[in-house]
Amino acid sequence: MTDLSRRAALKGAGAGTLLAAAMAAGLLRPSDALADWNKGAFEAKTVSDALKSLKVVSPAETKDIAIKAPDIAENGAVVPIEIQSNIPGTKSIAVLIEKNPFPYAGSFDVSQGAMPFVALRVKIGESSNVRVVVATADGRFYTAVKEVKVTIGGCGG
């Protein structure tokens, strides 16, 4: 998932300030500065390519990830999702909307003092599986899915 050692190093060195200065000076584009924003994974058009960029290796299907999301979403523009991982040593939680043009929606690092939980709201273009991948501190991967149907809402006039 996100490269934690690199991120920690950047923060430790107070590099954020330096990077902001470099950006302001036009030396770096924001996307360069955000070295730990996984461009490859976010630009991947398939789930398997995204997982490859995230360095996810053979994730195991599990029932220990609880995904709370609507069976039928009232509006695909705002679909609330809550994820609770019950897997010991959960380090990060990644969310992929399988049918979206760019499936990888983001990853949440909970290893530094947060509970293995995240709530977010996402855009889902058409009925799709929401895939969650949990990475653990000891380098294992677990996954679960929840299907969300997207419907037409109002008069359409």
Partner: protein, 204 residues
């Protein structure tokens, strides 16, 4: 026919006005005057849409429960105005009909003049089972042909109902799609096919 509507309207209005004569202000007249002051023509939706036609006037003045004999006369008046296809063919293409049933556009101030509109059918009706997003203002039309039969008499009825629902039930909530030019002859045929073609998913 216009004269007929007008005379019925006149008589009913007089009766109702007489019964309300004790009131100082007539809220209905005040309401209509207020609407006409506040609303402006926009795009294809001109202010003359605020004027009631005969059917609307009778329904507005009777809480949608017109006296039976007036309802019957006006219904038959509306029925006579239905233009059925000259070739007697009522059945179009159900696949096109499904698209029209899904399409909720047409006749609003944001629609363009002459742009093809839809029937907005799913807004109020369940039709094909594959569409789970359907309204419940009107009854389910699922299995319409299977239940009612596929004969020419049913086809003609459905054509007429979509063309002008008020010809069959004066104060029906269903728009008069053909009567007001919201749907073309071919579009209505396609909708008839959606309900009455045996191969339409409606009848599976």
């Amino acid at each position: 026919m216009r004269a007929l509507t007008a005379s019925i309207l006149g008589a009913t209005t007089l009766a109702l006005v007489a019964s309300a004569a004790a009131q100082v202000v007539d809220p209905r007249s005040e309401a209509v005057a207020t609407l006409k002051r506040d609303f402006k023509s926009q795009g294809i939706a001109a202010v003359d849409r605020l004027d009631e036609d005969g059917v609307q006037a009778i329904c507005n003045r009777s809480d949608d429960k017109p006296p039976k004999e007036i309802a019957q006369r006006l219904e038959s008046d509306q029925l006579q105005q239905i233009k059925y296809p000259a070739d007697g063919k009522y059945l179009g293409d159900w696949k096109t009909g499904e698209r029209i049933a899904q399409d909720g556009r047409g006749m609003t101030w944001s629609d363009k003049a002459g742009a093809p509109g839809g029937g907005s059918c799913y807004n109020c009706h369940q039709i094909g089972l594959q569409e789970t997003s359907f309204g419940t203002i009107g009854p389910s039309l699922y299995q319409f042909g299977k239940v009612r039969g596929y004969g020419t008499d049913v086809q003609k009825y459905v054509y007429g109902k979509i063309y002008n629902a008020k010809a069959f039930s004066l104060c029906s909530q269903m728009p008069r799609f053909g009567h007001v030019g919201a749907l073309t002859e071919q579009q209505i045929r396609d909708l008839v096919a959606l309900l009455l073609d045996p191969s339409s998913p409606v009848n599976k």
